[in-house]
Symmetry: C2
Subunit: 354 residues, 2 copies
Amino acid sequence: MCYNVSMQRVPVGERLPTLEDVARVAGVSRATVSRVINGIRNVDPQLHEVVWDAVGRTGYVPNRMARSLVTRRTGTVALVVSDSESHDDDPFMSRFFADPYFGRVVGGLMSVLRQAGVQLALQIVGSDDGRRRLVGDLRNGQADGVIVLSLPAVDALPRMLTEGGVPAVMIGRPAEPVPINYVDLANETGATIAAEHLLGRGCRRIGMISGPADVPASHDRISGFRRSTAKHGHGWVPIVAGNFTQESGEAAMRSLLAESPDLDGVFVANDLMAVGALLALRDAGRRVPEDVAIVGFDDSSAAVSAAPPLTTVRHPLEDMAAEAARLLLARIEDPEMRASSVIYEPTLVLRKSA
Amino acid sequence: MCYNVSMQRVPVGERLPTLEDVARVAGVSRATVSRVINGIRNVDPQLHEVVWDAVGRTGYVPNRMARSLVTRRTGTVALVVSDSESHDDDPFMSRFFADPYFGRVVGGLMSVLRQAGVQLALQIVGSDDGRRRLVGDLRNGQADGVIVLSLPAVDALPRMLTEGGVPAVMIGRPAEPVPINYVDLANETGATIAAEHLLGRGCRRIGMISGPADVPASHDRISGFRRSTAKHGHGWVPIVAGNFTQESGEAAMRSLLAESPDLDGVFVANDLMAVGALLALRDAGRRVPEDVAIVGFDDSSAAVSAAPPLTTVRHPLEDMAAEAARLLLARIEDPEMRASSVIYEPTLVLRKSA
DNA sequence: GCACATTTGGAGAGCGCTCTCCGATCGATC
DNA sequence: GATCGATCGGAGAGCGCTCTCCAAATGTGC
């Protein structure tokens, strides 16, 4: 094997070149090099060149840590996954990461952060002690701001963050009103769209597979569905709760079927559960959409690959995450910015299942 | 709304308490507080208590930045996604993040890092300039080490990292031999298992949908498949390449079908493409597995929810990522550690598609 | 009681950077 | 040519922490 020395540095022992070294090579002071590198004030163009040349020759790279220490800026944003009780090897967390939800959020976030030259640091907090430590670190400038994915129904983190003065944006509204920035989807509207589509195509006996009733998004989808079915004269509709996993959707579909065998339409609160429901329906010998129509929620990749492909409520998660990142960046830039929220409108994506 | 002051600090203006402040409150020197907090040397138990008390009263949280500056340790590991030519709003990246692959890796990584109190920072590099900057930052102690997900077939990053002396572990072997730690799957074996299963269940005309031939994992799966079919007397087998997305799998299946209409078994190099293949097969009126048997690769969530559920080669990605994290942590602890690699053996998961 | 080894706490020098002064330099103006 | 204002570069003080000295305090053996 052949190793060509691709990096021809001017190594000073194991020490990396510092501003001081560059200054010496360029024959100027540390301050001048700093000014050139940060593009501050007009430095004599000639010196400017000399300095950059010295930077190139020494292979200098600014030390972020040292810089952050004085500027109080890290160029890092934390993505916090706040969970109520997740312990070290909790399988829940790994399930969460494998869920397309997480990846879509990261993708949306990165599309904006990358351009801004900001890096994303992943943090999980599972206990109140962890939350406290996190807020402490954050106030200390561990990151310039945070994007919060709050899983528990009621979570002290959003409040702790605002009280600590940490720039933060939530994806999904907080369960209790807290003056915090957030980006959310009009979940009620989404559920309404789904219900009306089901009713519109002639379903007479409809039900719903919901998520856990205490998380805000889930709650809103339930109430939106209830309200709109009631409006159309369906006094009572069967609702069974799952926990957003495929297996739970399958189980929920079974109990729904047992409860109301004459079911002809189901709104499922996310695509993953809808895929599970499809499986249960096939087992029960019902055709989709002929016997039972299914409307999912999210428009995740699972919706396209399902058999039949799912008609679903589109949740523009990437766009929302990108907006959250923009909001956070703006807030970091302007500490006076007032808490604001952006609500996205869902749309129905028609495929085969309803 | 009611805001109860949940954090009763002793605020010194906007300044957060520093070691100095704690020292003053405790009536000792800065050094002593530092020693107590870091548990170094035996400090008089009585002072010990006084110091912790002062820490509590002031609400002191150590400033990581300042600490890192002197210790050269950050408590951060970077997850680098090295891409050849990804630009700012490249849709490819968002597709990559939404792929279960990414989430599984993150989940596996976090399961180990979390316990170690290490945070994960996400980095994307798309250009050689970006790579250079990254290595520079890394050498400067921006992170203690890196986990590399190298997408391009031939990538200078692994070598740059080893030459720069940055602790690094790759997930998936490097395309060219570089003395770097890595964790990989025995891809050839996986392909062999798939081929033999197909042959074993009586398939006579088998083909393959592969990934891009220049990425190592993909290459190995192709050669494993070729070798084992040849061994069983199939001199030539049709292989069409996709790019690991569902759509590409669908397209590949169509051309495979056009090329060899009498096909009765296909090995698909990942589950996502296999789901696409299933769609194409259904369109073509072929039953799976009766007319055409399908074996996927990965055992991702897509395999379970596919119709029919995929028989697939299990890729224990979470375990591999966790192992990579452990390896990295060990390497960070012991800089003398020699580059080593861990190869996982794939297994076949039997479901309905073959 | 004294010489000695052994703890234990404090002073202070940095880690690598930014940024505020301030003095030096320069060109323009009368 | 002297004076003023503007501009530009350097010195040096920190940012908050760790860690190496050292001095003081304590304990040990004869």
